[in-house]
């Protein structure tokens, strides 16, 4: 068929409709006159000829419509009509349209946002080459239930030399670097890495080169690779930077490369080669675990084979060095699994929750559409009786479904964009930092299409329900029906099932949210063991050139503390190498005078190096003995303070004061320290973690180069920032302050993940509750209209308003109760999956289960009350006459 005339007719038909119409009228008028004339010529009287001609034409309007149907673009035009009609229908039912569109939008938007994040974190391959081959290696001690411990240098060197499973194996260690030069001194987090670190990840520097194998040797290791961000910000993206020298921790390093822009490996800005000194490689160093190890699997080697390989090597080492390596083996875990390990349970619970929301949303839309179908049954029957073809009615309903879907989908897309951004922004910084490419997470197109498809199908399939209804031949029944036909009841059953399902799903979600809220409350009640209010914290890390001597380190911190203590508003100030809620280092130690412990019973505790005012500053109570003083210096008797947990665990039946301990194992030669005091327990690792044994060394006796300054203030802790920074710069104008925060911020950050989970699940729960309420309200108000006549009769026969109320509410509440029953069973089965996210409550906490069930029943009661009160206002006379 020739295309051109078609298109031009389409154009005319669509946009010059009146002209076409007029022309056709003229043509038909002319036909009529010619025909009349012909009949007059054949001998008929003019009047009779005219009548006969009109009769033969058979109605001008009909002919015009028939011509219209034959025209190009007729389908398009009727579609347009359907759409306009659909829009009009929705505009006349703003309540229905709003609820349906919002429900769809929320379902689509929330799901897309959560699924996008989940996909990016759990499923999307890491942005390294062949990421599935990338493994993380750990020391594990199965007896101690520890599987992801750091690795010691000699163990790593043996693994790397002896393994047959990996193409490349690389270790890295946490490090901080103070960059000095023309700008203000600044501290950066970095890593010391094996020379083949970048090859192992499969990443090439964007500028310059990766490290060379010989750069692992002492003396040749003064080279550095910078992150793209640092290169851009601090060095103005200087393309000639490789080859130039920068000052890191007071030493000169030659920059050899810059990482690619999209390369992310934790929040690392500076890399230098990892060099092992002789002390790192001693036999005893096998007990010092500080390395993280990644490795690239050979192409034909499976994970299981690699595990066996590393385990065999570990067993050889174990036989050779039983003192340090008894019960310690290498463990291999896919790298992606390792980095998502901590956030995985939260994401899976959110995923489950949001899927429930989608289900509820779909059920609700289905419910709304079915309710509307019921009320439109008569309209459709009338239209069918007037000659509307069935496909025409189906198309009409379809277009309404499409309008709803498009509106809901569009709004949902907006919500999805907004929600994804909000989720990315709200995530705790450690999650954001440890997930490569976190900031680049966007809406996932597959996910979006999936949710759109599900919602569209729901609205379209259920939107067609009334059309299927009229397909039945008993048109007259439908016309006569005013809500008492058997078909109506059948659909009513579908709606009831939907409502029960909605209630059950909502209950499960709410119980999940309730459990998280209870956990969070419990966490807030936890005894910290110190007073976090009004405490300023900042990190200081001294360079190893200027502060090589311990006396230099002591001098620096003493002078800085003196200046800070004099600042207005400061009550007391102290140093501590790891303040609570930052890092922790645990250390094995030996109690003098006790026999050598079994390998799995070696005493172990967190340890901290503090200045004398530490306990006063954090308000940690002294239980017995004394705190450190200015006299606990090098040369004086070596002292240590322990906490109650350590006293209870390792000195169960004796007075620890006066006892002596040393760092390290039984055979190690280390100086002995005498216990001079016992202090209260403190939470250091996290609110949900039990009190750990802990001991404190005096800073003046065993100084460290890395320390935090903590200061208790009278006012806002952060107002101290300038004073502290100036105090530090007065002592050393090249010394930066890092990670300035308050103790309360640190604690709050440690529960960001929990708070986020709680808030999200809370939102989902509230949403589910609202949807379920709308659902049950919809069913009940429909039932009431169906029962108008029956209620009228009852009231005419003497039923009181209260009886009617009771009957309607009872009907609704029986639905709600079945929903709650099903939901309770479901929740009972499901909540144990979120056990790892809970704190202080069991997954089947009766108070939460009971409370939430009551809440849901209460809301359902209110939702039933509105239609029930409508029912009591039925006027018996009007109801009876309405038939």
């Amino acid at each position: 068929m020739p295309l051109l005339p078609r298109l031009s007719s389409l154009w005319r038909n669509l946009f010059h409709k009146t002209q076409r119409d007029q022309e056709l009228t003229e043509e038909l008028d002319a036909y009529l006159e010619l025909l009349t004339e012909q009949k007059i010529n054949a001998g008929l009287a003019p009047e009779a000829a005219r009548r006969a001609a009109l009769f033969e034409l058979g109605g001008k309007q009909q002919v015009k419509e028939q011509v219209g149907e034959a025209r190009t673009g007729y389908q398009l035009e009727t579609c347009w009509q359907d759409l306009r009609y659909g829009l009009r229908m929705l505009r006349h039912n703003p309540g229905f349209a709003t609820v349906a569109v919002l429900t769809l939008a929320l379902g689509i938007g929330m799901n897309t946002a959560i699924f996008s994040v989940v996909y990016s974190v759990l499923l999307r391959p890491l942005p390294y080459s062949a990421p599935e081959k990338l493994m993380a290696l750990f020391s594990m001690r199965p007896q101690l239930n520890s599987f992801r411990g750091p690795v010691s240098a000699p163990d790593f060197v043996d693994w790397r030399a002896q393994n047959r499973a990996f193409d490349a194996m690389s270790a890295y260690a946490f490090n901080t670097y103070t960059l000095t030069g023309s700008d203000l001194p600044e501290r950066f987090i970095g890593r010391r890495v094996s020379a083949n670190f970048f090859q192992t990840l499969g990443v090439k520097p964007q500028l310059g080169r990766a490290f060379l194998p010989e750069e692992e040797e002492a003396g040749r290791n003064r080279v550095a690779i910078l992150s793209y961000g640092l290169w851009e910000r601090r060095f103005g993206a200087d393309p000639d930077l490789p080859g130039k020298t920068v000052s890191l921790n007071g030493e000169n390093y030659t920059v050899v490369g810059v990482t690619p822009n999209d390369f992310r490996f934790a929040p690392v800005e500076i890399y230098t080669p990892l060099t092992f000194a002789a002390a790192d490689m001693s036999d005893m160093a096998r007990g010092m675990h500080f390395l993280r190890v990644i490795a690239r699997l050979k192409t034909d080697i499976t994970l299981e084979e690699a595990k066996t390989d590393i385990e065999n090597i570990s067993r050889r080492i174990e036989r050779q060095y039983p003192v340090t390596n008894a019960g310690k083996y290498g463990n291999v875990i896919p790298y992606q699994q390792d980095i998502v390990g901590d956030i995985r349970p939260s994401l899976l619970v959110l995923l489950g929750a949001v899927s429930l929301v989608l289900l509820i949303a779909c059920a609700n839309v289905a419910n709304l559409l079915l309710a509307r179908a019921a009320s439109r049954q008569r309209e459709i029957a009338v239209r069918t009786a007037l000659g509307a073809a069935r496909w025409r009615i189906v198309r009409q309903l379809l277009s309404e479904g499409v309008i709803l879907s498009l509106a809901g989908g569009g709004l949902g897309l907006l919500l999805a964009y907004w929600g994804t951004d909000a989720l990315i922004g709200a995530a705790p910084s450690d999650v954001a930092d440890s997930t490569p490419g976190w900031k680049q997470i966007g809406i996932n197109p597959q996910v979006l299409s999936f949710t759109l498809l599900i919602s569209f199908l729901t609205s379209i399939v259920f939107g067609l329900a009334p059309a299927l209804q009229v397909s039945k031949p008993d048109l007259t029944d439908s016309l006569k029906e005013s809500g008492k036909s058997s078909a109506g009841f059948k659909r009513q059953r579908a709606r009831k099932v939907l409502v029960v399902a909605e209630m059950a799903l909502a209950l499960m979600l709410l119980i999940g949210a309730g459990l998280l809220i209870r956990s969070f409350q419990e966490l807030q009640q936890v005894t910290l063991g110190f007073n976090p209010g009004q405490v300023f914290v900042a990190d200081v890390s001294l360079g190893n050139v200027k502060y090589r001597e311990t006396s230099q380190q002591i001098n620096f911190f003493q002078q800085a503390l003196q200046r800070i203590e004099k600042s207005p508003g400061v009550i007391s100030a102290a140093t501590v190498n790891f303040p609570p809620f930052s890092f922790n280092i645990d250390h094995v130690f030996t109690i003098a005078g006790q026999p050598e412990p079994a390998p799995d019973a070696i005493p172990q505790a967190d340890y901290r190096v503090i200045s004398p005012q530490y306990f006063r500053t954090l308000e940690i109570p002294l239980v017995r003995g004394r705190v450190f003083t200015e006299q606990d210096v090098a040369g004086a008797p070596r002292v240590v303070i322990i906490n109650e947990a350590l006293a209870r665990r390792y000195f169960p039946n004796e007075d620890p004061i006066g006892k002596q301990i040393k760092l390290g194992r039984y055979m190690e030669v280390n100086p002995l320290h005498t216990v001079v005091g016992i202090v209260g327990n403190t939470k250091n690792r996290g609110l949900e973690i039990e009190f750990e044994p802990e001991f404190y060394y005096p800073f003046l006796q065993t100084p460290v180069r890395f320390s935090s300054i903590v200061a208790r203030t009278q006012g806002d802790p952060l107002s101290l920032t300038t004073a502290v920074r100036n105090a530090v710069l007065e002592v050393d104008k090249e010394q930066p302050l890092a990670r300035i925060r308050t103790m309360e911020m640190a604690i709050s950050d440690s529960v960001t993940q929990r708070r986020l989970n709680m808030i999200l699940l809370g939102i989902f729960g509230a949403l589910a509750l609202a949807l379920a309420a709308v659902g049950i309200y919809g069913v009940m108000s429909y039932t009431v209209t169906q029962r108008t006549r029956e209620i009228g009769i009852r009231m005419a026969l003497g039923a009181r308003r209260r009886d009617v109320l009771k009957s309607v509410v009872g009907q609704g509440m029986s639905l709600a109760a079945s929903g709650v029953g099903v939901g309770l069973v479901g929740a009972f089965l499901v909540t144990r999956l979120m056990e790892t996210l809970l704190f202080g409550v069991t997954p089947t906490d009766p108070a939460t289960f009971g409370g939430i069930a009551l809440l849901l029943l209460g809301v359902a009661f209110l939702a039933c009350l509105i239609p029930a009160r409508q029912a009591t206002r039925v006027d018996p006379m009007v109801a009876l006459r309405s038939e």
């Binding site: 020739p2 078609r6 007719s9 056709l24 010619l34 002919v63 011509v67 034959a70």
Partner: protein, 120 residues
């Protein structure tokens, strides 16, 4: 005449599909002899089929407009024999080709059907 009309109506009801094609062919054939207005077309068809087909306006006009949009016909306003304004239809090149195709098809089909009916 009345009898025949009934027959056509019956035919129309039963074999709409066949008649659709047939109607197109008859209209094209009628116009092949020269331009005609609507009534002219229906008169010509009645004439050349010796009254077997009485094409009613309800079928005629949709067919005319459809074929015009397909590019087989063009139309223009003109004067009728007795000085009345009327819309005249005329066959285009494409219409002539279409008539040829339809005629060929029809002959093939009717031959086949005739053979089928004669077969014993």
């Amino acid at each position: 005449m009345k009898e025949k009309e009934k027959k056509t109506d019956l035919l129309k009801e039963k074999k709409t599909d066949l008649l659709q094609g047939t109607l197109d062919m008859l209209v094209l054939k009628a116009l092949a002899l020269g331009p005609l207005h609507g009534l002219g077309v229906s008169n010509r068809i009645a004439q050349i089929t010796q009254g077997v087909f009485q094409v009613k306006p309800g079928s005629l006009f949709p067919a005319l407009h459809r074929m015009e949009e397909a590019g087989w016909l063009t139309s223009s306003w003109g004067e009728s024999e007795n000085n009345r304004r009327a819309k005249y239809y005329r066959l285009t090149k494409a219409g002539q080709r279409q008539l040829k195709t339809e005629t060929d098809d029809w002959e093939r089909i009717s031959l086949a059907i005739a053979k089928a009916l004669q077969a014993t």
